[in-house]
């Protein structure tokens, strides 16, 4: 019986992938295996004794398991672990490193909306929301999670290719003294200084200033 134990190679690269605190456990199949391998998952809160099984991820053949619900308290830290099965053989439990939802999540770019007058552009930025269990649940903006959250805004004059960068804490920005009848493209990024977290830049939102009357 001892020989049967752990004669299946271990799942590999077991880690959390987190975006806006949607925390999903991912792994790769044991080397040399692809079809037919099943997995089960457990997780634990750091500092608390017991492992907790995740029933929805028991005997699954996919290589991910959404643990957002179980790891939603970002004042705690977590471990998760995966075990593989195939034809009566099974692997060892393979653990993640310690996962801190607050520092180990990635943040999406902000939503950008722009409007213009003859000589100015108004930009409104919205930080993404923290993952939530159901659409009905109250939304929590990442601004509430990271009080030091700032926005880096890039404004490009499409004609002259001149670009300005602004770093703001406020979620609105008015860019004055622009040329009438000119196209400008705006893109924005979220920057949290501590813990250090930067989103990517949003896609560009282009708008033209009104023509001179």
């Amino acid at each position: 019986s001892g020989e049967l134990c752990c004669s299946l190679l271990n799942p590999r690269n077991v880690r959390f992938e987190s975006i806006n605190m949607k925390n999903v456990l991912h792994w790769s199949a044991p080397e040399g295996t692809s079809n037919g391998v099943l997995y089960k998952v457990k997780y634990s809160v750091y500092g608390v004794g017991k492992w907790i099984r995740k029933p929805e991820c028991r005997n699954i053949n996919r290589t991910w398991c959404d643990l957002s619900n179980e790891t939603s308290d970002y004042e705690e830290q977590y471990y998760a672990s995966v075990k593989a099965f195939l034809n009566g053989m099974f692997s060892e439990w393979v653990e993640t490193t310690r996962f801190n939802p607050l520092t180990d999540t990635k943040i999406d770019p902000p939503m950008v909306s722009v409007s213009s007058t003859e000589k100015s552009i108004s930009i409104i930025l919205t930080a993404p929301e923290k993952w939530k269990r159901t659409p009905e649940e109250e939304s929590v903006s990442l601004l509430q999670v990271y009080p030091g959250l700032q926005y880096n805004v890039s404004v490009l004059n499409k004609k002259t290719k001149k670009r300005w960068f602004f770093s703001i804490s406020n979620h609105t920005l008015v860019v004055p003294w622009l040329q009438p009848g000119t196209a400008y493209c705006v893109s924005a990024q979220i920057h949290v200084t501590t813990p250090l977290l930067d989103s990517g830049f949003s896609k560009e939102h282009c708008i033209a200033t009104l023509k001179d009357k």
């Binding site: 634990s44 750091y46 500092g47 608390v48 004794g49 017991k50 004042e75 705690e76 830290q77 471990y79 490193t97 310690r98 801190n100 607050l102 520092t103 009080p147 030091g148 200084t193 501590t194 813990p195 250090l196």
Partner: protein, 146 residues
Amino acid sequence: GACRVSMSMTEIRAGFTAIKANIQARDPIRTLSILSHPHSLHKVKSSDRCCITHHLFNFYVDKVFKHCKTEDSYVNRKISSIANSFLSVRRKLGHCHEQNQCICGQESTEKLKQILANYEGLNVTSAAMKSLGELDILLDWMEKSH
């Protein structure tokens, strides 16, 4: 009056982030936490924050950093740079304490006793390495509550 101490959280954070995986990998005990169990730092009353911060900086300077030597010179350099930042903040917090701006209530005294009990429940090196691996718990709490 309020105890206002300036410190470079960004620098300390960057230093810790650089060695977090290395340090936490040296702590195999998942089931015990020095700082956050059984009672989370986040449950501390605002009136007790200054006292706990002051004593935790003393804790890290006096009981943690000096027992965290590794075979990796890069990690050691990062640890000593974090330790130096803690030393300067501790000095400033000490002034507040002397001017009675950092009063310790019963709750904070209990919390600190619990942290020391957790620490003394392990051998010194394991306790120090675990405490260092929990630096982000302290930093997260400080940023959120201060």
